[in-house]
Symmetry: C2
Subunit: 428 residues, 2 copies
């Protein structure tokens, strides 16, 4: 018997597009061979033999996708929040990341991280490790066991960091990436590697060039940070005066993605201010990982996400632990709406706040498409799903399906996730 053949019965919501939410009360979600065959009001004859799991007081949603999270920072999430980005990296983040030179520490911390990710509503994620090969491999092992689909990057950095995090020159740093890639090649079913320059200030141009070559040769995706904070952007201008925009530095070195292996750039808070950068983001296969909580916690600013969507850019959501404090894509959705309202009120009322439908799309189908055909219950999608128990949110008020979804976005916690499937595999 194929375990990937089943039907989930319950109240089902998913995005068809950023405008259109599809809600079916007491519908049947059909999965065969790990692929979604659609949502039906009655079980179609062709699927009559499949086992049906019945969920009451629960909502069945596509899984959530976290496009940007730092695994080694989970251990200190929610601390040091009175600092801005560069100061925070120097005093809080780098000293903690140095500890991952110790495999024993990494095993402990990454075990906690993987367990937390597994319990959450997130089904797939793009994850930063540290510069350490061994620790990053431990992270991959811990994640492999969860069954979630993840992309993991050994971080590269050869300038402007604490001594313990500096790799000895661009070529040694690039060799270390290749050794790591060779070491993990074919080793995991669920975890794939992604090339990960920390950000321009921490990587010499030589190193960026080498990493671009690795992407090209091995057809690997890339993840990094882009235009997060005004001081960081000014610094990049100083370091690379030849580039018209921050994004152009990555583009110049082949680090803005390929059709078969797109890139994820976290933040893009200020990309809207540069026509050159916007053009590069439109014309390359780049996902913007919008991280509203992090951009608030580190006083970075508010990305003009509505503009990016209007201009046809690819946008998903990131929790950005530990720039952000809470590893929950539901809360990221809520905060994406919240900060868009404050941006509308305080800075630019030409961009309407994001709506529930839109942010739900960003956290499911929008960001999900980075990983393939996932994030929706339309026929042909890989079946990722989470079951949210609404018992704890029960109320005598009369709520529509959309309002129940809103409450899940704003009020649910990890413990309300009572079932989870990735590519048709039951995680719990």
């Amino acid at each position: 018997m194929n375990m990937k053949n089943f039907i989930l019965k319950g109240d089902i919501c998913f995005s068809r597009s950023k405008e259109e939410l599809s809600c079916v009360e007491q519908g049947y979600l059909v999965c065969t061979d790990g692929i979604c065959r659609g949502v039906f009001r009655e079980i179609p004859q062709a699927y009559a033999g499949l086992s049906v799991q019945n969920w009451e007081h629960a909502m069945i949603l596509p899984g959530l996708y976290d496009l940007h999270v730092h695994a080694p920072q989970y251990a200190f999430a929610g601390t040091g929040m009175d600092l801005e980005l560069l100061k925070w990296l120097e005093t809080r983040t780098f000293p903690e990341e140095e500890r991952y030179a110790d495999p024993e520490y990494a095993r402990k911390a990454y075990g906690l991280f993987a367990r937390k990710l597994k319990e959450s509503a997130t089904v797939r994620a793009c994850i930063f490790g540290t510069i350490h090969r061994e620790a990053t491999q431990i992270l991959m092992e811990e994640l492999e066991k969860t069954g979630l689909k993840t992309m993991v990057g050994k971080v590269s950095m050869d300038r402007n960091a604490s001594a313990g995090l500096l790799e000895p020159g661009p070529f040694a740093a690039a060799r270390s990436v290749c050794q790591w890639l060779d070491g993990v090649s074919g080793k995991y079913e669920n975890v794939k590697p992604v090339v990960t320059p920390r950000f321009v200030p921490a990587c010499t141009e030589e190193l960026l060039g080498e990493l671009g070559k690795i992407c090209e040769e091995r057809k690997l995706p890339v993840q990094s940070h882009l235009s997060e904070n005004p001081s960081e952007i000014a610094w990049v201008k100083e370091l690379c005066p030849w580039a018209e925009s921050y994004a152009e530095v990555y583009e110049h070195f082949g680090l803005l993605g390929m059709p078969e292996a797109p890139a994820v750039m976290a933040h893009c808070v200020y990309s809207g201010e540069s026509e050159n950068e916007k053009k590069l983001l439109r014309e390359n296969p780049v996902y913007i990982a919008h991280c509203p909580q992090s951009n608030t916690d580190l006083s970075s600013g508010i990305a003009p996400v509505r503009r990016y969507l209007e201009e046809g850019m690819l946008v998903g959501l990131g929790t950005d632990i530990a720039g952000g404090h809470k590893m929950s894509v539901f809360q990221t959705m809520a905060e994406a709406i919240q900060v868009s309202k404050l941006r509308w009120r305080l800075a630019d009322d030409s961009l309407a706040p994001l709506r529930t439908e839109e942010t739900f799309y960003l956290g499911t189908k929008g960001g999900g498409s980075f990983f393939g055909k996932v994030g929706s219950f339309e026929p042909g999608y890989e079946l990722d799903a989470v079951i949210i128990d609404e018992e704890r949110l029960s109320t005598p008020a009369r709520l529509s399906m959309k309002e129940r979804l809103e409450r899940i976005i704003y009020l649910s916690e990890d413990r309300d996730v009572v079932g989870k499937y990735v590519a048709g595999e039951k995680i719990f």
Copy 2:
């Protein structure tokens, strides 16, 4: 044996002032007759006979104070968040509040509300009911059972609401308040009444005048809304063209508090823009209930809290369910910091973001002082305390006491509250 005599042992944090956090590892918090006698590193001889409760993996904090929350709105918290204040009141809030004409509905909904409040870290709160006398009495009964100390208001409104929520003229509305006050007088140990005009647009001047008289005669505190949203403020200007500021309307009718019974005004997002209003807030015994989540969710704006603190105004925090979505003062603290950062970045960099110490103060000693000498562990304070289990937040990172407190603010959930005391009484 007096149950209000005991010692709590554990890691203890509390505010002495908005700048100064006091943290004692493995200290002894002494309570006799419900009054805090101080925090000690060793048990003083005079208290040697008291029973000691030992809390490990836990932090002992003063309880939290919620200066503004609408009990009837808890049932639909987290829905309708794509609307601004006036539209939200009309389409979401008023229809739901009408349902409290039915005592059976009120019993169900208020039972849930009271249970949730009891489970949270909140120890005392200022609470709005609806216009309905019977439902408001049910709310008071449900709250009395929790043991928490609360101020509850039957709402008054005689204009600009849906038919089902309009009281029949100012004098009938005032009579209804008196009947309610007479009906509940002396009935509850923990729940006290507070005069509650909804806000100026929903109360005729005659009604405001009558309510001012009731406050004066009965020496009762008042709670209402002030300068929340630009459209609301413009409306008040239209309705009361004679007043130099929104606050002056309340002041004119004796609704800005008395020394023995201060007022709570929720929001004050735009009070900083009127010298007249700021003066009235400084010169009257008025607490500003800062509600950052609500002000974000309803796109109202961001209150300049640092300015209010610098000018010596009284400020506490409010969750403002269901303008805000989450009934957690810890989360309100986090969002107070978050929005102050965005205000600094987007609107006015002359006001530095709020710091952890400052918002912790606002949610404890700052807002607590509305209820008397509570909110701190200095000797002579009524002993309100919550025990936060940090097991779920455990980490291999090295954290200071202040960082642990930060994590509790940013990451804890109600289920982490494992013990609670109000005025020396054990709640659980």
